[in-house]
Symmetry: C2
């Protein structure tokens, strides 16, 4: 392996000069720098990041931590997240991926090993981890899940507004009896989406019927169960908003099972716009949560945090967008 000393020897300068030249120090004359850069390129020099890390105390590593890598639902998440991140991350940063549940020893999570950490959070069970990271003083951005703590940089989708927009649309299509299948109890996203649902109903002066608030937990199965309950009501809703697409798929299957046709007999709306939302039958009308955008913005914030540690944490909202497909009919 070529080192800066090898280059120094060839260039007839000290390794210090090589180091400075290659790192863009202003102390080096242009001709010297050019010569050194040329030689380095010719010799295919690649810096030794271990040595660099040792002396600069930076690891050149960003850790991406996932709620649960063993849980099924998050599949498209991960790709989108990595896509967004590597889009803005400098190529000589390493992106390491971990499931939070795979971290058995918090002691391994140290400033010395991670320049910064991104948490793609889906559950408040992540909080223990998040606070460990914060306590260790590692630059941190939490993505996807809204936190109560204003001391942590947080990038999330504007769920409430997104849902309101979706329900507004359903109402504009003539729907008056709207139901919601709620997300997992206790999750911020569940209450946010419910709020958006209610915002719209209230704005349109529609009744809030408690029968139309069905419990769910974000799983496909819970969507199926909740929909079954809703269908058994004497006065069925004409449109059902599902707090995520998984539950919408469950709900859809419940309708099939009960020979209820979508959207003729009942309309359906989802949230997330997972990859398969457009391939369900009929294609699901849903609210797109821009995971790649969230990750990209989060990464930018993290980079800023690395460069200016004094940057104030803030909560950033990324706009969702309504994706109109075929599960909402006029009424």
């Amino acid at each position: 392996m070529i080192t800066i000393k090898d280059i120094a020897r060839v260039a007839g300068v000290s390794h210090t000069t090589v180091s400075r030249a290659l790192n863009g120090s202003p102390l080096i004359k242009k001709v010297t720098r050019d010569k050194i850069e040329k030689i380095a390129a010719e010799m295919n020099y690649v810096p030794n990041y271990s040595a660099k890390s040792l002396v600069t105390k930076r690891s050149f590593t960003i850790g991406l931590f996932f709620s649960s890598i063993d849980q099924g639902t998050s599949s498209s998440f991960l790709v989108d997240a990595i896509k967004g991140i590597s889009h803005v991350l400098d190529e000589n940063f390493n992106l390491t991926v971990h499931g939070i549940d795979g971290v058995h020893n918090f002691g391994n999570i140290q400033p010395q090993r991670f320049d910064g950490i991104l948490v793609m959070s889906q559950s408040d069970e992540d909080n223990a981890f998040i606070y460990h990271v914060k306590t260790m003083g590692i630059p941190l951005v939490v993505l996807n899940r809204q936190l109560e703590d204003p001391g942590i940089m947080n990038v999330v989708a504007n769920d409430r507004e997104g849902v309101k927009e979706a329900i507004d649309y359903a109402v504009s299509q003539g729907h008056q009896r709207l139901a919601i299948i709620e997300g997992k109890p206790g999750f911020k996203s569940s209450t946010e989406r419910k709020q958006g649902f209610m915002d719209s109903l209230i704005e349109h002066r529609l009744q809030l019927n408690s029968d139309y608030f069905a419990a769910g937990d974000y799983s496909i199965e819970s969507g199926y169960a909740a929909m079954t309950t809703l269908l058994s009501l004497s006065e069925r809703p004409t449109a059902v908003f599902c707090s995520n697409d998984d539950m919408a798929i469950g709900a859809m299957n419940a309708c099939y099972a009960h020979k209820i046709s979508i959207p003729q007999q009942i309309s359906l709306l989802g949230f997330d716009d997972i990859m398969f939302a457009r391939y369900t039958n009929p294609a699901l009308t849903t609210v797109r949560k821009p995971i790649a955008d969230i990750s990209e913005l989060g990464t930018k914030m993290l980079i800023q945090l690395l460069q200016q540690p004094e940057t104030k944490p803030q909560q950033l909202f990324v706009k969702t967008s309504l994706v109109v497909r075929d599960t909402v009919a006029g009424c």
Copy 2:
């Protein structure tokens, strides 16, 4: 940060002794080792991997490289792969994730930065990258895509056998007129699956009708188009094998569009068992490709390669399994 020298001072020994004690060297007396380990634990010592790397020339990093992180199809892939890998990878190894298309400078891919590399390959466009890694002498395992080169460790699913089994099943249900929507031309997986399809037909002495070999490219859209063609035949097939689930979903939608009911009028089989295969309507009968198992086995092979560099490369096959759901009817 605590270093071995700090521990050494407290323990009243030299830092070398600490290093040896903590690394399980047989040169250290048990009482000394115990004392040092106790102190290290009390002081929350965490080794500095940069320093370790610098001197041992190991990076403690495994790179996972994906065909294309920007292409949509691979979503569940990634999670399953990471799941399988982190399942067997020692916790103080770092797993970094990259899209091959994101690597603009092959020079960055060096033994010094990666102890080993896993390539989750989906296309022969990866070959340039793969051979670069091989040339650099980095321990390498290629997953998921069958290579022709016997000099590279390769772990794949036994597609051919898996497909044969699936077609055998369809035949056992009484189907005689079977069609295939083929995968992307030139891909090993396409020909393997096609072979499995033909193996079964030949074994059952069924005619190979050239009309029943429809071209596809693994995309949902191509599945739709191919199925449309098949449906327009004067003598339609009674069962269609799609070379992957994505195309099966496209095919399904084509059937919906033409008011052909599945499985009553036509049966459908897929390949991969992507997450949503069980939530299509009706649920898709398909061949499960065990990505997590492939990744896990591949990682084990890589670890062995790290420990015994002389291990001979081999091609390992992981068995697929037929997942019977609702898209194949008796005939």
